[in-house]
Structures are given as structure tokens and as C-alpha cells.
Amino acid sequence: MRRHTRNLGDPAYRWILTGLAVLLPLLLLAVGSQLAISAAPALKKFGLGFLFKTTWDPVAEVYGAAPMIFGTIVSSLLALIIAVPLALGVAIFLTEFAPRWLRQPVGFLVELLAAVPSVVYGLWGVFVLIPLLRTIAVPPLRAALGWTPFFKGVFYGNSMLAGGVILAIMIVPYIAAVSREVLQAVPATQREAALGLGATRWEAVWSAVLPYGRAGIIGAIMLGFGRALGETMAVTLVIGNRHDLGASLLAPAYTMAAAIANEFSEATTQMYLSALFAVGLVLFIITITINALARLLVWRVARGAAVGSKAL
């Protein structure tokens, strides 16, 4: 009798767990195909032009997503330019230089930064960051770089610059947490060998630790990039939400996620709705691709580990 139940219990347990686990890939597939189905009418009508046309006119039913694709990529790149040095600073400081007693509190603070809800960043962005940019950051930027097309024109407050800065603040903890785990996965012998050859601490980090973790760090940066691309609420609140395509970082812009957040409930016609789903599909494909590449890179260093799970 006991034998019998055991023989039944084990396969049943395995099948139940397998059934639950299979849900996840199915869910991803379902989201992707649903987006594709809903986006099909718009994609059929506008073709590849959807990605390159700049007119977004719900009244005339003409949809081109170029300004928001541009805005999404530029704001995220701007965020990376600001965030990468800071995040790597945190990661290197915490794994290589910080005294032991400081590692945990600082690490915890950074993880906490990752736990702040996006909408709270947005609120802070509207009422604190933008006034701060207006008084402290923009005048000197304009004085020094006003001759370039990037800092021309009036500063509206809500702008590409504000979007990029708030995104940078949001992705720093994420990049920092993943690169920290990557650096922790670098074998101590790597460090010791460099120090044993007479390298200074910085030389050991620069020539032995960082090159070893390079793939993982690039992966961490790409994960941060993926986050920034799909980030919605904070950006919606500060970027200005205008379908413009211009070089000036001081002008309002738009991102794909922000457009969906703003216009989805206003989309009264089938084609309008379909166009927004097409935007969602483009965003989905871009982020999935970047995340997949990033994961493979991170896994190369920290094999199979759920890196960054604590920063979620």
C-alpha cells in the first residue's frame, strides 16, 4: 500500500510543478501574441512607415511612432550616460574599497532606492527635480553648451532632460546591484594574483577584476537600459508628453510607454487603439531582445544565478 502511494505521489508532484512552471513561458507567449494580434490592423495599414513617420494624428487617423521611439531611446541613453559611472562607482566601492561595516548599510540603501515606486519618483520629479534643474542645472549647461543643438531653446521644465535624469536615478540601483553581484563572482585569486605581482589596489581592480567581469557588467548596463526603456509613470510625469522629434534636451518629448499610459483610455477608434498596441509591441520586442542578450551576458559570469533578484 505504501509503495503504491509513493509511486503515485512522486510523478503527480512532478507533473503539478511542471504544469505551474510551464505557465510562465506560455504567459510570455500569450502577451506577445496578443500584442501582435491587436497591433495587426495598424501595422497592416502603415507598414514599416509606422516606425519612421513622425505624424501622430488621431483625428486624421495617421499614426507614425518615430517621435516616441526616438524619445524612448534618447531618454534611456541619456539615463545610461549619467547612471553608469555612478552605478559602477557604487559596485566597485562596495566590493573592493568600502570598509566592511559600511558595505551592508550602503548596499541596503541602494537596494531601497530600487524599491521606491515609480510614481513616487515621478511625484518627486515634478515638484523637486524639475525646479532644481531649472535653477541649478540648466543655466550653467546652457552657458557652456548653449551653442550646440542639444541645449537650445526654452527650458519648459517637463523635458527630455528631466526624463533622462529621473530615469538615471531609477536605474542606478539596478545596474549597481547586478554589477555588484558580478564583481562578487570574480574569483578572489584574480585579485590576489594582481596584488601579488605588485599592483596597487586600483590597478588590481582596473586590470584584473573589471576585465574578468566585463561581460557581466555590460549585461548589467543593458538590464538597466531595458528598465529605462520600459519605465512608465515617472517618465510620463516629467517628460512633457509631446509628439515632437528634436535635438534639444530642454524641449518636451515623448516615450512609447508614456504614450500608452496617456492615450490608451482616450483611444476611441479601433485604429487608434491598434496603433497604441503596435507601440506596445515595438516596446515589448525591444525590451525582450535587450533583456535576453543582457541575461546571457550576465549568466556567462555568474552562471545561472538569479542576479539582481534582490534589487527587484
Binding site: 503527480a12 510543478l17 515606486p117 511625484l123 533583456n291
Partner: protein, 281 residues
Amino acid sequence: MRTRALRRRAKSAMMTGVVAGLALLAVLPLLMIFADLVHKGATSIDWNFFVKSPVPAGESGGGVANAIVGTGIIVALACLAGIPVGVGTGLFLAEYGGGRLGWLVRFVADVMNGTPSIVVGISAWTWLVRPAGHFSAMAGGAALAILMIPMLARTTEEMVRLVPNSLREAALALGYPRWRTSLAIVARTALGGIVTGALVAIARIAGETAPLLFTALGNLNFSTTVTEPMQTLSLQIYVYATGPFEEWHRVAWAAALVLMGMVLVLSLTARWATRSRYASR
């Protein structure tokens, strides 16, 4: 020769300073955000703020009781679906995840962790709101559950893997079937870690806004009906921050402080629950 060594050491010291400075600069926004939340939010928080619903625009007073209760209900709905599937997937990965399916599930979980939540939101809208013809808290809970599953799967797997193999072997040697070993010994031992993972996931979804915009929608009145639109703190902050009234902004800051407090308590509890595990790091 001496000067070269000196120069190298000076450079090392300088770079240490640079790196420490960058780290400091990275932590600065967090301190600023906390300071601003407390500074701008605390004065508006009193007892009424927790027990009253919002008043019409222009009037002062009122509270966010509907949003606090709504956040709780929607998160609970998400947990109802998300925790069993997430933990089950994590157990699968830890127990049977060696093969190709394990690799795929692990990979998909990690990729989905980075999927924009707004995309999940419009998918949930297509599946649950459009056919039903109206927005509902249930659809919001489902969207949050989808976000929760991959997070929970990976933390559960990690926690279960920390359980020493000797425990498993001891149970099997005593004649326990594998499923009972897995549930009563392995998962039981890892329970603290699994709970921590769940708390972290809850903290994360409690602040989500984007997937709720087109599912739970928001509701200015007090509602506990899960088939109807429901308010959450995050939705309320969004609406009030974009509104034109000074009074609304004040409430948005206070609501943000309450939400951040909730997230902080969850994170600290999670941290506290695993303090021994990470103390060695």
C-alpha cells in the same frame, strides 16, 4: 623608480576617492527623496487621512482610506494567484530544473522581470476588461500577479537551493517519498527565505501604477467590490500629482509617504527575516 611607485600609489588613492565619491552621489537622491517625502507629506497626515475617503476637489480635509484598502485588496488578489504559481515554479526550478525546460523557464522568468509593466497592463485589459465591459480590481490583481510570478520563481529557487543536500538525503534515506521530502523537509526549511521573497515581490507590486491604469482604473469612492473599479495609493498619487489643485498635491505627497512607508516596512521585514543568511557577506 621611487617616484613612479609613488605616482601609482597616489593614483590608486585618488581613484578610491573618485569611486567613493560616485557612490556617495548615487545614494544622494534617495536621501533627498526621503527628506522631501517626510517634509512635504508628514504635515498632512492625521487620523482622518487614514479613515476618510477623498472629498470633492476644492474642499479640504478627507483622506485616502479608499486607496489604502484598495491597495490591500488588489495586492491580496495578486498574491492569491501569484504566490502558488510563483513558488511552484521556483520549486520546479530547484527540484527538476536541470534540463532544457528548466533553462527555458529560468530564462523566461529573468526576461519577464524586465518586461515593461504597462505592456502587461494593456494585455490584461484585452483579456479581462474588454470582454467584461468594465474595469475591475480583479483585472488589476491579475496584471500584478503576472508581474509577481517571475520574481517569486527566481527567489524561491535561490532559497530552496540554499537548503543543504544532506537534509534531503536524510529524509530520502528514512523512506520519505520525494514529494514529501521536497515539501515537508526542503521547502519547509527554506520557508523563511520564500516568505522573504514574497515580501519583496509584494513591496514591488504594491507601488505599481502602470498596469493598473487600464485595469483597476481608480475610484474616488470607497469600494471593496472586486468586480468594480478600485482606487490604489499609486493611482491616487498619479492623478493628484497631475491635477491642478494645490490641495491635491498636498494629498499626493502624503499618500506617497504612506506608500513609501508600506514599502519600507515590507523591505525591512524581508531584510530582517534573512539577516543571518546575508550576515556573512
